[in-house]
Symmetry: C2
């Protein structure tokens, strides 16, 4: 079995221990003589999987009892629609902070359902830092405030909720969920596509406060949080294999010392990379405000397009894959999600040093 250092932005690396466990029990789960993919979502065996996954996630994130955990489909992109459909109920108005490509996409969809106020944006500088935010930007009444916690394409990341507000706060945590401690009780709704830090693509996790469920009647069933909450995410067949994989990842996370434990490792990984980048005379970071740097998405460049191209290509040939930056941002991006190890990051720094020596 060959394994490379995988810095993919998503779908992304999964812990090897998890892949090997899934592999071992693929045709015969728990000794029942069937794959976990071949059993009813309503079976006793699968219910244990789904309930186990939810219970582990609640424990890992410290999710209070007045929040529901929903295992849905359609990715963050479907949440861009479901959030305004479900939450724009009273004022039909919401704040969307424009900190990146996905933040902008979320706002664009929300405009189909109500008024979107953009209090702050860093689009004019190609999102190279987080927008400047002050509390007085949120003086109008609204149904909620939306922000994208980690901006995976540009490599910026908020440090918690960027404003003091009584509005329900909604956050897209697709590319940082479970990478650092988060006080869930400060949020109205947290959502994340699974394919970066949780499981294979196809699963979406929504953590939503009770009082934000069921505000809009007569929604299409599949787009109504109330329907999914009432049916424990089994209104229809959920994506069972991805939920099973999520459970394995959550178990693995517990073994890493939970979110606190993995956060320490994540800080060490990010620090190793940024320290080298800051000391390098060939590479420099793309984010122009160091305080805004993401610990999950490390973007950098040589400043020379051809050299960047050559770096990604040679890295690939040396078993360091998926380092090419997003076409919008250019340069390089190392996505160092939870499953990317210290050793992977060390190998990358070693390769960067060698590349710098030769160029």
């Amino acid at each position: 079995m060959k394994r490379v250092h995988n810095f993919a932005a998503g779908p992304a690396a999964l812990p090897l221990e998890v892949l090997l466990k899934a592999q071992a029990e693929l045709p015969d789960f728990n000794g029942i003589g069937m794959s976990v993919m071949e059993i009813s979502h309503r079976s006793k065996d699968f219910k244990e999987v789904a309930e186990g996954a939810e219970s582990l996630l609640r424990d890992l994130m410290g999710i209070p009892d007045n929040y529901r955990v929903l295992f849905l489909q359609g990715g963050a992109s479907l949440q861009f629609d479901m959030i305004p459909m479900n939450l724009m109920s009273r004022t039909k108005r919401a704040y969307y902070i424009n900190s990146g490509n996905f933040a902008k996409k979320a706002a664009k969809e929300a405009r189909l359902f109500g008024e979107v106020i953009e209090p702050a944006s860093s689009e004019d500088c190609n999102y190279s830092h987080l927008p400047l935010i002050s509390d007085d930007m949120f003086s109008e009444d609204a149904d909620y405030l939306h922000f994208t916690y980690n901006n995976t394409i540009y490599g910026t990341e908020f440090r918690g909720i960027p404003v003091k507000t009584d509005l329900p706060v909604v956050s897209d945590m697709t590319s940082c969920i479970l990478s650092e401690p988060v006080d869930v009780s400060g949020y109205g709704l947290i959502y994340a596509g699974a394919q970066k830090n949780i499981a294979p693509a196809g699963l979406t996790v929504v953590i939503v406060r009770d009082d934000l469920i069921g505000l809009n009647p007569s929604l299409p069933s599949m787009l109504d949080y109330a329907v999914h909450a009432k049916n424990d995410s089994m209104y229809n067949t959920p994506t069972t294999f991805a939920i099973y994989m999520a459970k394995l990842v959550f178990e693995w996370l517990k073994e890493q010392g939970g979110v606190e434990g993995i956060h320490r490792i994540n800080l060490e990984k990010a620090d190793m990379l940024y320290s080298y980048i800051d000391s390098s005379s060939l590479f420099h970071g793309i984010v122009d405000n160091k305080a805004d740097r993401s610990i999950m998405s490390v973007t950098f460049t040589t400043g020379d397009k051809d050299l960047d191209e050559r770096f990604s290509k040679e890295a690939e040939e040396n078993g360091l894959t998926n380092l090419k930056g997003h076409r919008i941002a250019g340069g390089m991006r190392a996505s160092i999600y939870n499953a990317v190890t210290l050793e992977d990051c060390k190998a990358l720094v070693d390769f960067m040093k060698e590349f710098e020596r030769k160029n």
Copy 2:
């Protein structure tokens, strides 16, 4: 490795050959040093998977060039919404034949978006046969006609489009797709959740004629066929692992002689079960019109609730699993999808004979 005879209604049995292939390459797909779950949906390696899956499906079903194949998420249940959202455009009216629980659910959702005409129903006899249908029931102009091809809970199945009509015909083929030849060119849209005859749960296949795409502007992006068609089903991250599994299943189907080959086996399996049921003095079929019997979902009962209960329980203990009927229909149900083998059906008949001898 233990394996049982699995008659689950969905998520359902997958071909053992497919499971073993997936198992072998789980941590290292194609020698690239990463799992197929760990690579970008836009990578060269995954594009080959997705394009391969589509090309195989086109070949297996004989899908004409003027149809698009979409790999979506959300199951048939999300299609219950997307179909009227996308197709109710001109008359804002559609026919829904009421032949079972899912047919009824589809109609209920469609009522959120326009007028639903129910030309025929067999609900009053608990769906124990297909509704009687004649062409004159469809005299009003409408945007489309919807029917559920195989009614998995009750065990009835249409034999093609049940009416001569110029309206676009939309069919839910979740529990029978790829089990028998279908003339796709007679349909406007065919859809199927993958978890019965295609792949693990989470993938939805939509086959839609070009002229039915893009009829309604300003739909939410994720609910708009035009957006998915334009982006080759990669507007957002698709459920990559399920698409990979679908490709393996399609390859396996080709080895079985394609849809024609598997259809011959399916007829043999169904015939074996129905022949025994009709000859038995203990068991009888639940469908009261033999011509309406499904070749995928074989429902039967002893007529005695306690004895039915005991049958399912003892079968389970003897390695014949998931034979308990749906709570709505009662009795027993053997779902004999493509991956259920002749040997599985033979084992079931043998067990039924033994159970009859003893009771």
